[in-house]
Symmetry: C2
Subunit: 390 residues, 2 copies
């Protein structure tokens, strides 16, 4: 088990977090990085080694004048514990089992026929069982189940991570659902619940492009347009429960009506529904799907191409607002909408460059499609974070 809570000094958490996200590191390097004495690092590392979360790698010989005894870097024992992560959407469950370093060991999908709470939770219980019953690699006796104590869930909408309450999830049509409590009863695991975009941002911050960044933003493009923000090394959650709502930045006062009640929001121009609506209007074909629109634009259909161009430009303009206001070190743009990456990318960059002010335009944008398991990996990452903070 992880060292008992009352024995976990802040130094233990700091050593564990740093080795987890930036290791392997020698005790000397850890001491320097954390502003601790070598003795304090050694003391903090001991319970983590004893409980099997950290291990000492083979000593690397140091040479040259002033070389002390060989350093044995500390590393994470990634398969000491596993974490299930599940993203719940209106029509499917996406699940993974991750190790301590948030490497995906196995993944699965399950279709859902409706977002009804009782039905979804029953399916969720079976789905988690299915993941845990997978054998894992040969050198892990007992498979994943024997070493899994935590489940992370990610849902879109307004989620209170501290209580595990889903206040409102528009796509699922869930209101005030005590999801953590119900999922813990169902699975016997310790459950964390987080907003899906925040979960994905956590994964990028700890185990992706955001590693070591003081500030960082992740923008997701798809059914909605979302954004997770890290400032001063911490995820911004918003004093009134809202943060990262890039989708509702108004970029065109005379633009199309948005479901939020305003006009010309980024989401009203650039989310999947908005693109389908505009592509149908442009072609006069009321049955057109998102996939049809992508195919037409790739085939050179100018009016449908213009719909993607306008959408990309709107997203770029919204991203520029993030850069102008917060100035993150870097911004990652991803999401299932970026399956149509080729159609969006140049227009996202153009809108960003036009609207970014001065050196805000120097902020690097990584624009890339998102593998479907990434959302579930984000959910698992939040449960890894909960372990570290426990």
């Amino acid at each position: 088990m992880f060292p008992e809570a009352d024995a976990v000094a802040p130094a233990v958490t700091a050593v564990f977090t740093t080795v987890l996200t930036e290791g392997p590191l020698s005790r000397v390097a850890l001491a320097r990085r954390l502003g601790l004495s070598s003795a304090a690092v050694t003391k903090a590392a001991r319970p983590l080694i004893e409980t099997g979360y950290l291990e000492e790698l083979a000593a690397t010989e140091r040479t040259g004048p002033g070389a002390g005894r060989p350093a044995s870097p500390l590393a994470i024992r990634a398969d000491r514990e596993f974490f299930v992560g599940v993203k719940i959407t209106g029509d499917e469950l996406i699940g993974v089992v991750c190790d301590l370093r948030a490497e995906v060991r196995t993944s699965a999908h399950r279709r859902l026929s409706a977002p009804d709470v009782d039905y979804v939770l029953t399916e969720l219980g079976e789905f988690v069982d299915e993941l845990l019953d997978r054998p894992g690699s040969l050198d892990i006796p007992g498979g994943y189940r024997a070493r899994t104590r935590r489940l992370g869930l990610a849902v879109s909408g307004d989620v209170d991570r501290s209580t595990g309450l889903v206040r409102y999830s528009p796509f699922l049509r869930w209101h005030d659902l005590t999801l953590r409590e119900r999922a813990e009863k169902l699975t016997g695991l310790t459950v964390t619940v987080e907003n899906d975009v925040k979960a994905l941002t956590t994964a990028e911050h700890w185990f992706g492009e955001g590693i070591g960044a003081e500030s960082f933003a992740l923008v997701t493009v798809g059914a909605g347009i979302g954004c997770g923000l890290v400032v001063g090394g911490r995820l911004v959650s918003g004093s009134h429960g809202v943060a990262g709502e890039i989708g509702h930045i108004g970029i065109d006062v005379n633009g199309p009506a948005c479901h939020c009640g305003s006009r010309g929001c980024v989401e009203a121009i650039a989310d999947a529904d908005a693109i389908v609506r505009q592509a149908r209007a442009a072609t006069g074909r009321p049955e057109l799907t998102f996939e049809d629109a992508v195919a037409l634009a790739r085939d050179g259909d100018a009016p449908v191409g213009a719909v993607f161009a306008r959408a990309g430009d709107a997203i770029g303009s919204g991203i520029a607002a993030v850069a102008n206001l917060v100035g993150p070190a870097r911004i990652v743009v991803s999401g299932e909408g970026l399956a149509a990456y080729d159609l969006f990318e140049p227009h996202i960059r153009a809108g960003f460059q036009r609207q970014a002010f001065g050196t805000a335009a120097d902020c690097p944008l990584s624009i890339r499609p998102l593998p479907f398991e990434e959302w579930a990996r984000g959910a698992a990452t939040v449960s890894i974070q909960a372990l570290v903070a426990s």
Copy 2:
């Protein structure tokens, strides 16, 4: 003198900052708030009392069961040291002398005929002398000069606080000016240089509406539209040198051209120049001033009133972007442009309410005019902060 740097443990800084911004406080209350032992607080407070920065107030009798010896709250000795703050604009110097609690003790203006660097610096030297030579109150022997070691300067534009370099100030037309170095030679004082909006935000954060707020935003309306952001208790400075540029959020892709090269920025619709330009177009009177426009709108001129309405709405929409992305605990809207407060206010609120997403609309907005010395007080506050961090 302030305790020597190498004697200043983090606990000393923490105790001083907390008593400064939230005191008077008893040692017990300080220990609780800072997570320190009472002994550590007593030890940290000692050098601050010895050097005259803190004092013990008369003991207040504690009664009831379990009451220990009477508590003597610690308080700042506000007149232990004074700070000069000057805002430098293209046509005037605005200066104050503040005490340690950032209370303005005296203030002054000096007109400038041109933004020429050598001329402005000569004027600045005389202006600081004039402020320091003022007698102060009767109980301060030697007046302000005897107890002043620090000068804070605030200028608009791109300023590097850490080096005191003014990279670019558009209104002053200054490029790469080593302002701190030159002002220190000129005055013999220890100088800090900060962007004016950031300085004002610092003043509100430490000594105004932002006290104790984990996150907080200040929006300034006038010659430009600016914004200072505090997130996680720290001023956001932007990884690429830009942050808080609310003026260049694009809210109307088909709007008027902006000096930044884009279209429909908040500033292109709502800063003083933009209002004058639109009011001239609306009335066909090319000689119209900002003051004329305010007078006409107040007299019920509908087209000019609509210019202020559109501007206020644009500002509100930009503020909503701040609330949607960062979710500050509260937002203060101020600036010299709010001399026309009555014309702007309802439209700022309407634009904000329309564009704020969900509970982001719960963020309280304080909309109020800005006394002219506030900018200079902000500059002085940055030098108080520099003392505390020294």
